[in-house]
Amino acid sequence: MSSPLLELRDIDLWFGRLNVLKRVSLSIHPGEIVALVGDNGAGKSSLIKVITGVHRPNRGEIRFKGEPITLHSVKKSRELGIETVYQERALADQQELWRNVFCGRELTYFGGFLDVKRQKEETRKLLREYLGFTSEAISVDSEVSVLSGGEKQGVAIARALYFNADVIMLDEPTTGLALAEQRKVLEFIREIPRKGRAAIFIDHNIFHVYDVADRFIILDKGAVAASFTREEITRDELIDRMVELHEKGAITL
């Protein structure tokens, strides 16, 4: 296997006296989708926030493309090539698509004035090339509020791909979506490795996770409880394994 794109070694995170992450180690390779599974409070979102620079770990090391890195802001992680698609969908409903795609990374002339023409052209390109939008109801000037939940997630994923993210984190991207929309989002996620990128996929739904992930890491109470590749385990075995861990008290379902 190729060398890891992103590697976490013995990550510890404390919120006051609460040990949220306990010596978590994991790695992700190019072209791979790794699923993080576990119940609420297992530490999935905290781990995502460590990788995106929202939280600084109290101990441990993060390596990106083999180099040790310190992440102290979302901006820094995005500059390195780590993007996140949050469950809250990092889009602003009342703003046009072209503003949403470039928010925080605006294309500007001198003095910070927006190059609106280029932003619109690039957004048009993104919608066409990454999403293949067929809907006649959508243009670059459309407000995000006119998009369906699945389309919004699609735009968020396409935005990450457009900015050449090497690792895309997906924090419960199908939550709250209708079935057809969930299918659409899973289709978007399957595209990520084909473009040579890697993804970390967090979801409660084992059926979704198993459909798209190459590797499964089970988190419980802030620690890695188990890890399997898709070859090592079937979907039913994964569910059985989680139930088994649960019965042993290692995991709460």
Partner: protein, 329 residues
């Protein structure tokens, strides 16, 4: 990903859909002036009334530009009349003692920016809700003015006939008040910043969805602080202009501008929830509020009707916008 037709370009219908609030407010403005003209052509077909509007409207119009940024953030500022008062006091004291209006304005502006910074820090860094923080500073700065001047005014006796007076509140060709040109210029520049600058774009994004803005790397605290600093600057500028127009500082300066300024911004279609607004809407809102009293009186109603008509206009405007938004959703 799935292939398909390219996302298309926007249509005229979409342009209308995006701009219906400013179009609606402009239509209300035109309709109201048509009523005024028909009801009293002797007043509204003469230039005098418009010259009068142009001399009085810019003071709260300049404030409304700053308030548009604050409201677009989903925040509020109730302290700007007090910031105006304190900054104007500095301008009056420094200009009468040093005879340098430019120096006085630099200090007045610096104070306005500093007071805006305090508001910004209280809201963005300390985390006090803006309505609470700015009620506090509203009383604080007005109280400080009262303590400093002990009820006494300051006459700008050295202002008459100076270049500073000509540039700020003079009359071009004896007809067009300079303060109106300054207002138009500031509204145009900051209207452009609002829609076409990274700062304005991020203000709208923060006002629309602050957690999302943070997630995409926007420094939301910094954007809020910058907006309050900007508001302080506009309050100081409005203080200086109004002081130069009347040539006299009085301790209650700016007090009556709070509600009219907020009303102008809300009538102009800036969403009280943040994330939405236009500078054009604000300008029309300012013109409406600024001309309503004269219009009411000139069509034969008594002054007792003024507040009622303000209320009616504000209620109808926000009702129309609410219905439009509901339909849009």
């Amino acid at each position: 990903m799935s292939s398909g037709a390219a996302a298309r370009r926007s249509t005229p219908h979409e342009f209308w859909s995006r701009n219906r609030v400013p179009v609606a407010i402009t239509s209300i403005f035109v309709a109201l002036f048509a009523v005024f003209i028909v009801a009293n052509p002797a007043v509204f077909l003469r230039y005098d009334i418009y010259r009068s509007f142009m001399s009085t409207i810019p003071f709260f119009g300049i404030l409304a530009i700053g308030v548009t940024f604050i409201v677009s953030l989903g925040e509020i500022d109730l302290s700007f009349p007090s910031v105006l008062g304190l900054s104007a006091w500095v301008f009056a004291v420094v200009s009468t003692t040093t005879n340098s209006f430019l120096f006085a304005f630099v200090l007045c502006l610096a104070l306005g920016l500093a007071l805006g910074l305090i508001n910004g820090l209280l809201v963005a860094k300390v985390g006090i809700p803006s309505i609470v923080a700015t009620i506090g500073t509203m009383f604080l700065w007005r109280g400080l003015v009262n303590v400093l001047v002990e009820g006494k005014g300051i006459a700008l006796s050295n202002l008459e006939g100076t270049l500073w007076q000509d540039v700020t509140v003079g009359r071009i060709g004896g007809q067009v008040p300079m303060q109106f040109l300054w207002f138009v210029l500031l509204a145009a520049v900051f209207g452009f910043v609002y829609r076409r600058h990274r700062f304005g774009s991020q203000v709208l994004f923060v006002g629309d969805n602050e957690p999302s803005a943070r997630m995409v790397g926007v420094r939301t605290d910094m954007i809020k602080i910058q907006c309050y600093v900007l508001m302080g600057g506009f309050a100081a500028a409005a203080g200086m202009f109004s002081l130069c127009e009347v040539g006299y500082f009085w301790p209650t300066q700016g007090e009556g501008m709070l509600l009219t300024t907020l009303a102008a911004v809300f009538i102009g279609g800036t969403s009280v929830f943040g994330g939405k607004g236009t500078m054009w809407g604000t300008v029309i809102g300012v013109l409406l509020i600024g001309s309503l009293e004269a219009g009411i009186l000139s069509i034969g109603l008594t002054g007792f009707w003024v507040q009622f008509c303000y209320g009616l206009l504000i209620t109808i405007s926000v009702l129309v916008y609410a219905v439009m938004l509901k339909r849009n959703q």
